[in-house]
């Protein structure tokens, strides 16, 4: 009976569009859903540092190098806020990392694609961060307070990321024929994976039901995907890039672009571990974690000694 009262109170908060805070009672499934989603989001930020970090040493100007370093730091910072948001749900960062390493927790499949040329840094900022923003803007209104507040802060930085990515692409499209070819090639390789970032079609989305009811998720995969396509196609045309979709067309009636069929087989295959970089990204994270173990142990041992000497 007591739980029923609590559930009613919880639902009334959700209905009133109030935030749920860490101290509030929440159904176990709500907590589980959030831990899964926030940790996946945090891990994505952190694993996402790898494809871009791959280009820090080769950035073609000092300005570009500074921007890339700053951007990657932002991503790491987002990872930190999100790990903290997840920790408010009663799980530690160590546990979250353990789940990542064991494969229990996922990260966005987009980061299992390789960053092959400098134009990929443009494409990642413009398309990948561009897709992420559409999702994150809607999550600013998510029902869990710490997650919503993290999103507000993250969105401000992500829009800078998207602009810097677009600037790289625009610049290359005004450059030499080789640069233009590089930019188009990056567009061709990143467009479809970026569309897949929104997840399966609404008719086939396994986690959406409760998430929509509890207002964790504020808009469906297909609606968000459509928003992204509508704004991005125009940006591509403006700088002379071709969207690699022969079925793409403007629908005058709906005022939306219609797109071709997404290759869901590829989507599933990459999620299941068979993308070009799944193994490499995970191994790199695990290796760094193991190689850093002696440092973490030393820091803990030192802190303990300091505490003891303060007490004495």
């Amino acid at each position: 009976m007591e739980n029923e009262t609590k559930l009613k109170h919880f639902e009334s908060l959700i209905d009133a569009d109030s935030n749920i805070e860490p101290r509030d009672w929440m159904p176990e499934d709500y907590r589980k859903h959030l831990v899964r989603q926030i940790s996946q989001h945090a891990h994505s930020e952190v694993i996402g540092m790898q494809p871009e970090g791959n280009w820090i040493s080769r950035a073609p100007s000092l300005r570009a190098k500074k921007i890339l370093l700053a951007k990657i730091q932002d991503e790491g910072g987002h990872g930190l806020y999100l790990y903290s948001a997840a920790e408010t749900l009663g799980i530690s960062r160590d546990e979250l990392i353990e789940q990542l390493h064991s494969g229990k927790a996922k990260y966005s499949s987009i980061f299992n694609y390789p960053a092959l040329t400098w134009a990929d840094i443009g494409a990642i900022g413009w398309l990948v961060d561009g897709a992420a923003i559409v999702n994150q803007v809607s999550l600013q209104r998510t029902s869990y307070g710490p997650y919503a507040r993290a999103m507000v802060r993250i969105c401000k930085e992500e829009s800078f990321h998207q602009r810097q990515g677009y600037e790289i692409m625009a610049h290359m499209m005004q450059g030499t024929p080789e640069q233009q070819e590089m930019a188009q090639d990056a567009m061709n390789r990143w467009w479809w994976p970026a569309l897949m970032m929104f997840g399966p079609h609404d008719t086939n989305s396994p986690h959406s039901g409760n998430a929509i009811k509890w207002k964790i998720k504020r808009a469906s995969n297909d609606i968000l995907r459509q928003k992204f396509i509508d704004k991005t196609v125009q940006q591509a045309e403006l700088i002379g890039l071709t969207v690699p979709d022969k079925d793409l067309k403007w629908n005058e009636e709906t005022k939306h672009y219609e797109h071709g069929e997404i290759n869901w087989e590829e989507f599933q295959s990459v999620i299941n571990g068979n993308g070009p970089c799944n193994k490499q990204r995970m191994e790199n994270h695990i290796k760094a974690h193991h190689e850093g173990e002696w440092v973490r142990k030393a820091a803990t041992a030192y802190a303990l000694k300091q505490n003891q000497s303060v007490k004495q």
């Binding site: 952190v46 540092m49 790898q50 970090g53 820090i56 040493s57 080769r58 073609p60 100007s61 000092l62 300005r63 570009a64 190098k65 500074k66 370093l69 700053a70 990657i72 730091q73 790491g76 910072g77 990872g79 930190l80 790990y83 400098w118 610049h171 290359m172 450059g175 030499t176 080789e178 640069q179 790199n284 994270h285 760094a288 190689e291 850093g292 173990e293 002696w294 440092v295 973490r296 142990k297 030393a298 820091a299 041992a301 030192y302 000694k305």
Partner: protein, 254 residues
């Protein structure tokens, strides 16, 4: 061959800039490899400070040179033998202890160098120093704190930290070498007298190592060469990677 005043100043600014550029490159290699996420951010943040400083100094260097080059031309189109960074900063990251030892040595040196350069009669250099010194204070503190933590942490961390200090010690003598360029610019009130920095540098290092319960490496043979653009074999690989796009597509703008 007698160098002109602006050629002397040009070479001096390259020395300052190249330390920042090459160390920034090395620190950037830590991205996604650090022991904890916070440290990943700290190391790449120091890298960002370094690249920013390199950019500012190279911009001034290009102006002093007067040949219409940009800061990017100087970073991306100079060959190995015309780089003048200290050998210390091009050394590989190694384990975390080696990176900390390298940072402790260079940031403590930079702290005293840039404090002196605040009073440079060259207002561009003094201006760059005024911005840099704020960052350097943080870099020095970060490296000192970690050195103490690792030295006084576990047996393993103590051993690793001591090994790193011993390995890199031979690259510290060069920091205080004065050649004609330093002498001339010091006389003109532009550059610092490096001989006067060695004492305070050593005092700081001895103090940190005492807190870390580590041993100051015994002075032995010191490596040298960077004043003349003679480097370790590692620099060539750094430049090959850093300069690749600019060299592969010489007509492209990025």
């Amino acid at each position: 061959m007698r160098l002109q005043q602006n050629e002397v100043l040009f070479l001096y600014t390259l020395r300052l800039a190249d330390d920042a550029l090459i160390l920034g490159h090395r620190l950037g290699e830590w991205c996604s490899k650090a022991p904890i996420l916070e440290e990943d951010l700290a190391l790449t943040n120091i890298a960002l400070d370094m690249i920013g400083r390199a950019e500012a100094i190279l911009r001034y260097a290009a102006e002093v040179e007067g040949k219409g080059h940009t800061e990017d031309d100087l970073a991306y189109k100079r060959p190995e033998r015309k780089f003048y960074n200290h050998l210390l900063v091009e050394q590989e990251n190694g384990d975390f202890a080696h990176t900390i030892a390298r940072q402790l040595f260079i940031s403590t040196f930079e702290y005293h160098l840039y404090t002196a350069l605040l009073k440079s009669s060259d207002e561009n250099i003094a201006g760059i120093a005024a911005k840099a010194i704020k960052e350097i204070k943080y870099h020095k503190k970060h490296a000192s704190d970690w050195c103490i933590r690792l030295g006084d942490g576990t047996e393993e961390s103590k051993e690793r930290m001591q090994t790193a200090l011993n390995d890199l010690w031979m690259y510290t003598g060069e920091l205080f070498e004065m050649d004609d360029i330093n002498e001339w610019l010091h006389e003109g009130g532009i550059a610092a007298d490096l001989r006067k920095l060695e004492g305070p540098w050593k005092t700081d290092i001895v103090d940190v190592l005492a807190q870390a319960k580590l041993t100051v490496p015994s002075s032995g043979y010191m490596q040298t060469g960077s004043r003349k653009g003679i480097h370790t074999e590692k620099l060539g690989y750094i430049l090959a990677e850093m300069q690749y796009l600019q060299r592969a597509y010489p007509t492209a703008k990025w």
